[in-house]
Amino acid sequence: MNQEPKNLTPSGVGVINHKGDFLSLLKHANYPLKIDLPSETTKHGGDIEIAHSTTVVAVRYRDGVMIAGDRRATAGTSVIYDRAEKVLQIDKHSVLAISGSPAIAYEIARILEHSFQYFRRSQLQELSLEGKLRMLSRLIRENLPMALQGIGGVIPIFALYDLNAADDENGGKIFFYDALGAHFENVNFATTGSGSIWIRGVLRYLSRFGDAPLQEMDVQQATINILRLLDTASEYDAATSGYNAQAEIFPNIKTVTSTGVEDIADDELKACYAEAQPDAETV
């Protein structure tokens, strides 16, 4: 007689203890994590050519990290959407800013969000900072075949607030990833996307020679600087949008602090714009 309990649902749900690993759970539930293209569609051979038409930027400021992205989505030379959200909240204290293939990037953000939740719910503790970073590394690495095929590369910036940081320390942390999933901690700033080349030098200049160091700025000063940086990127990069005064489309800007993740509201952005470009007739 069959003594096995036949009572747990199929596809691995409930049969296997996944020990908090959401990817393993998804795989057992037969969720397709990858799109396997036939090899003849591989255009780029071994070259990794990441389509990263966007500008996202993160800076450390007084209370934590400020992270921002423009709103433009492009396909080739066409602008297909001007309200894209590229700065995505993952959990209470972390944010992912995406550049690269949006379909994969949103999927990675969603898996990441659910992974952290699943770990907390099943293991009854928060995933550690290092654990979160590794999870994102793994997702990017799993996506490597898509990146190699030249259609699904994603290079994100991951910003979070480390609640274990000492009281007198800024717990805001910025991490930058490469296409293989290696992560590096950028101490004061990071930027990625096609517009990033135009502003990386500016960030370095601000950080080292600016009137006030980036990490000592308050929210308003940081916002003004971020708006100016995105404006600069949009000036030289066709795939990065500036501020659309007519439609009032602002960049997404979020802050990550000890109290959590917050959006900078449009009203505040409007006020900061006036200050960011005081002599512009139409900003």
Partner: protein, 256 residues
């Protein structure tokens, strides 16, 4: 054994007696709604008993810790996969109960050669509006009971009836705040605890009257080697996840 109906029924009855005997001394759990959500409350002895299942679903149970853990994982895994594959809004208690849990419980209970789950489970779901809040209790045999404003699970039916009678007479005000809900919950817990310490025949008698002083004594005694545990599903919580455990300071502040 299935060829001999009488022996099968007998075996089921033995199983029922065995499980109920194991459950009898379990620390009861009380579920109540309050003005800003729902609370689950118990006094545990070290092992955590109140859990987050999904954004708006919390779980508690009495029974064998290994069974609780296994079934908690089943429902958490299912909810997580469904929430990811569709949308988190598509995860709901009704589906989890009817399509995943109830038949799992029933099947384990009735396959008399396999292991039985020693468990009574209580799940709470925070609705989009107050009148959609749901408490669902699942018995070890797969029977499901759903309630809207308050519920309890205890070791025996008599204990549950006693606790529910207390809740019904003590308060009809469903607009209570969290402090009031915690106090009421603790009192109902004390009633359940007292009944579980009586002999089964006594517990079923009408004399379940316990005065407030006695309740507080029971709670104080229980807290000497245990801890009050309370989890809430809170509508005011930012973000999609509404569950959190109350801190010991918050619980302390609510005590009279």
């Amino acid at each position: 054994m299935r060829d001999e109906p009488y022996r099968w029924i007998e075996a089921i009855q033995d199983r029922r007696d065995y499980i109920e005997d194991q459950l009898r001394v379990g620390s009861p759990v009380v579920g109540l709604t309050y003005d800003e959500g729902m609370v689950l409350l118990t006094i545990g002895r070290g092992q955590r008993k109140i859990f987050e299942v999904h954004d708006r679903i919390a779980l508690s149970a009495i029974g064998h810790p290994a069974d609780i853990e296994r079934l908690r994982m089943l429902v958490t895994d299912t909810a997580s996969v469904q929430g990811f594959q569709n949308a988190t809004e598509d995860v709901n208690l009704h589906r989890l109960t009817n399509f995943v849990l109830a038949h799992t419980f029933k099947q384990a209970f009735e396959s008399i050669v396999g292991e039985a789950y020693i468990i009574k489970m209580l799940l709470a779901e925070l609705g989009s509006t107050d009148d959609k809040n749901r408490f669902t209790c699942i018995n070890y045999d797969g029977n499901v009971r759903t309630e809207t404003t308050s519920t309890v699970i205890g070791g025996t039916e008599a204990i549950e009836t006693g606790m529910q009678n207390y809740l019904a007479t003590a308060s009809t005000d469903t607009d209570r705040d969290l402090t009031a809900a915690l106090q009421l919950g603790l009192e109902a817990w004390a009633v359940g605890k007292e009944l579980s310490s009586r002999e089964p025949e006594e517990a079923e008698s009408e004399e379940t009257q316990i005065d407030t002083a006695q309740m507080h004594e029971i709670i104080d005694t229980a807290r000497e080697d245990g801890e009050i545990e309370a989890g809430i599903l809170e509508i005011t919580q930012r973000g999609t996840g509404k569950f959190r455990l109350l801190t010991s300071q918050e619980i302390e502040a609510a005590l009279p």
